[in-house]
């Protein structure tokens, strides 16, 4: 059982440099076909500052840590028992290669379904760029399958 007291728990800020090569790799892995996601010159002809980060790219920011699953270990959640239940993004500003992002996260909600067989935990994250502008917010909800 996850402790309700965890709601509101905050995590250390993560700094993330949006690198061109990383964007190209991510575009390839997600099979992007539009060159604005991997060709800087083309992106510029379309009015973009540089290569554009695709819609779900912010998912990479949270993994930019020595042990990206440490937060689960700290909560006593085995990695093999969780699945991604929901993902929500609110976008304010486009993110480009060269941007410096800062992500702040906290635990949003903890609730259960099916008499505790399924427990849900959501993480709220806020992303700001080098101009201190809020570029996006996300909510990731994980489901813990209890045996």
């Amino acid at each position: 059982m996850l402790d309700q007291k965890l709601i509101g728990k905050t995590y250390p800020e993560i700094l993330f440099s949006v690198e061109k090569q990383r964007l190209k790799f991510f575009a390839k892995a997600t099979q992007q076909t539009d060159p604005i996601y991997f060709d800087e010159d083309f992106a510029k002809t379309k009015g973009h500052r540089s290569i554009l980060a695709p819609l779900t790219f912010l998912t990479t920011v949270g993994y930019e840590q020595e042990n990206p699953y440490q937060y689960l270990e700290d909560l006593g959640i085995p990695l093999g028992s969780i699945l991604h239940a929901k993902q929500e993004y609110t976008n304010y500003e486009p993110i480009y290669a060269g941007d410096q992002l800062r992500m702040k996260s906290k635990i949003g909600e903890i609730y259960e379904k099916k008499k505790g067989m399924l427990e849900f935990i959501s993480f709220l994250s806020y992303y700001k760029n080098q101009k201190n502008k809020l570029v996006a917010e996300s909510i990731s909800t994980l489901v813990l399958r209890n045996k």
Partner: protein, 144 residues
């Protein structure tokens, strides 16, 4: 991007579906590397079996990126203000996914057109993998 085409979208209209290649192990390994999500449940069959699955499963976020592309194929990415998905069932190796979007509502506000989309990803047998919604804001050009 042809703004006239975008502005033609009305309630009930569907965006062109995106059909993926069959999900493969190398696709998942590549995504694990690119995203930083190295959770072995997506790349290590032994780990997946220990977790009670019969095989590795696709990253939900990879599936989300496919439905995202179905939208960005039509709408400029900057117009997509809200993008929410719910992962309904696991996506397995060899699944071929069809990503669909349908306009369920729209608002006109001065020079702004706001589309509300329902999103759905299904496999070849019609099993739902992901459902979701998006809000798209398009600035209408004054044609006078």
């Amino acid at each position: 991007m042809n703004e006239n085409i975008i502005n033609q979208y009305q309630i009930g209209d569907r965006i062109p579906s995106l059909i993926t290649k069959p999900i493969s192990r190398s696709m998942l390994a590549l995504y694990a590397g690119a995203s930083g999500d190295h959770n072995p449940i997506h790349i290590d069959i032994d780990f997946a079996k220990k977790a009670g699955l019969s095989d590795v499963i696709a990253h939900g976020m990879l599936v989300m990126s496919f439905i995202g592309q179905a939208m960005t194929n039509i709408f400029p990415q900057e117009s997509i203000k809200k993008f929410d998905t719910k992962f309904i069932s696991m996506t397995n190796i060899n699944d071929i996914l069809t990503c669909e979007g349908k306009v369920i509502d729209l608002e006109l506000e001065d020079s702004l057109k706001r589309l509300f989309l329902n999103l759905l990803v299904i496999d070849e047998s019609g099993d739902k993998k992901l459902s979701g919604s998006a809000i798209i804001e398009l600035i209408l050009k004054d044609e006078k």
